[in-house]
């Protein structure tokens, strides 16, 4: 069994951990660091419940090996709020009742935060008309549905998730 030591920053805090090379970021967070906000849904990159931010980019914690994140900055759902002040995306999900059971919600939140940043950088999606420029202010429901398609909700709360993400832009 191969183990390695690893230095990384999680929600602004430097952490030094010793991991089996097989450990995913999701398992590191949940089993070793006590951060159980990120959820294990499918564990195969198909549901998005484990979505976290690495250097501000949304990735799937279940398919990232922890050993690949030496020196990285990881943000989980626990790190989105500023103290007691919720992140605008969290506030919008509460206001729009954008969940039922809540299991997919941490992944939805982290994904939405990362997605809005991607839009801010002008990244196209498959529904962006060729040659068009997207911006956070011009984002519509079709773009949100497409860009959030990697996050499944078995309760079917999408009808409230899409308005929540749109509302969070303000």
């Amino acid at each position: 069994m191969a183990r390695m030591s690893l230095d990384l920053t999680v929600n602004g805090e430097r952490r030094k951990v010793d991991v089996d090379t097989r450990t995913t970021v999701l398992d590191l967070l949940r089993e070793q660091l006590g951060l159980t906000g990120s959820k294990k849904g499918c564990d195969h990159g198909q549901c998005g419940a484990c979505t976290v931010l690495v250097a501000g980019r949304r990735v799937l914690g279940c398919l990232v090996l922890a050993v690949t994140l030496e020196g990285a900055e990881v943000t989980t759902v626990e790190g989105l709020a500023d103290g007691d002040d919720l992140h605008p995306v969290q506030r919008a999900f509460l206001d729009a009742d954008a969940f039922q059971c809540g299991y997919c919600t941490p992944g939805q939140l982290c994904s939405a935060v990362g997605m809005l940043r991607e839009v801010g950088e002008g990244w196209p999606s498959v529904v962006t008309p060729p040659g068009a420029t997207v911006s956070v202010s011009s984002l519509g429901p079709d773009e949100v549905r497409e860009r959030m398609s990697g996050n499944l909700c078995r309760c079917g709360a999408y009808v409230n998730i899409v308005p929540a993400v749109l509302a969070a832009r303000r």
């Binding site: 191969a2 195969h44 990159g45 979505t51 949304r58 991607e118 990244w123 549905r145």
Partner: protein, 328 residues
């Protein structure tokens, strides 16, 4: 998951040397490999992480070609200004694949080397000639609704899952790889292979070779290009059929054309017969339809995937009519 060692080389020479160790695998974004390791399909003894290598740049070459480093992430390439302006088909193919999270992780080199999503290949309790040569192919008599209609063999009817590779095939792109013997260059068409009686081989890449770059040649008229993908749900699914097309129009005639089909074969299917039929001919829906019918004469569908023949025809014809502005 089986235990493995992990190395993070800082140079390509070191990476290629590490790959000579038995049971080694290169690790890019891990979106396919880590999943296959969880499934027991891949059981490496050593992972050689490539993401620390200096291969993450997109460079415009003096001859107008675009050189894409192997560890450029799919999402970064899809948003690249030169790619969006010069090769819309490439950007569109990238954003048609996977999800936002996966595109942030996946590298373009890894994309070219991802394995088929044939359900039998991914299930170690089932026979599969690609996973265990000679064990048989249950897909022919079993679940094959989304498997190949072109270029398959008795041994294997798997499809290539990449959208990106279909666009690269249409653009006559090249693959550069490094081995301990030196550099190797292949066209995308020569890189991928049909299964024949060796379905365990997805590509013609030499063993241990490290893909370092993809090169897209200059093609000024690729500004008139598009990628269209049809899948079982609106987003986040593999293609049933996809089409990458570029057209050079001379008035109402086709001066030149590039056409490749995805989701239909073990490799991106460059529709050379249709291209020849269209070159120099009228840009009309009738001509597009006839050319596709000709191309698809080679199709050998199975009981559950015959729908893909008409679907490939219709999607390609629609893509070409939209690109050329032909009234539908």
């Amino acid at each position: 998951m089986k235990a493995f060692e992990y190395e993070r080389p800082v140079g390509v020479t070191e990476a290629v040397a590490l790959a000579r160790r038995a049971g080694s695998r290169f690790l890019g974004g891990g979106t396919n490999l880590v999943d296959l390791m969880k499934l027991g399909v891949e059981t490496p003894d050593l992972l050689v992480d490539l993401t620390g290598l200096d291969l993450a740049e997109v460079l415009e070459q003096p001859d107008g070609a675009l050189r894409i480093g192997a560890t450029v992430r799919n999402s970064d390439l899809s948003a690249n200004d030169a790619v969006r302006a010069r090769y819309p088909v490439l950007s569109q193919a990238l954003v048609a694949g996977a999800s936002g999270q996966l595109r942030n992780m996946a590298t373009v080199g890894g994309n070219m080397l991802q394995r088929t999503r044939c359900p039998y290949f991914q299930d170690v309790t089932k026979a599969c000639n690609k996973r265990v040569p000679g064990s048989g192919c249950p897909a022919r008599a079993g679940e094959h609704r989304n498997l190949a209609i072109l270029g398959a063999s008795e041994a294997c009817i798997a499809t290539s899952p990449s959208d990106f590779a279909v666009a690269l095939a249409a653009l006559d792109a090249g693959v550069t790889a490094l081995t301990t013997e030196g550099e190797v260059s292949l066209t995308v068409s020569d890189f991928f292979r049909l299964p024949g009686d060796e379905p365990q081989r997805d590509t013609n890449l030499p063993p241990g070779a490290l893909v370092t770059a993809l090169t897209v040649p200059r093609l000024d008229w690729a500004t008139r290009s598009a990628y269209r993908k049809v899948r079982d749900r609106a987003s986040y699914a593999f293609a049933l059929v996809s089409v990458a097309a570029a057209v050079d129009l001379d008035g109402d005639r086709v001066r030149d054309v590039r056409l490749a089909l995805g989701g239909v074969a073990h490799a991106p299917w460059r529709a050379t017969r249709a291209e020849e039929a269209l070159r120099g001919g009228p840009a009309t829906e009738e001509a597009f339809s006839a050319a596709l019918r000709g191309e698809l004469e080679a199709a050998e569908p199975l009981p559950h995937n015959g729908f893909k023949v008409d679907l490939a025809h219709n999607v390609a014809v629609r893509t070409l009519t939209e690109l050329t502005g032909v009234p539908a």
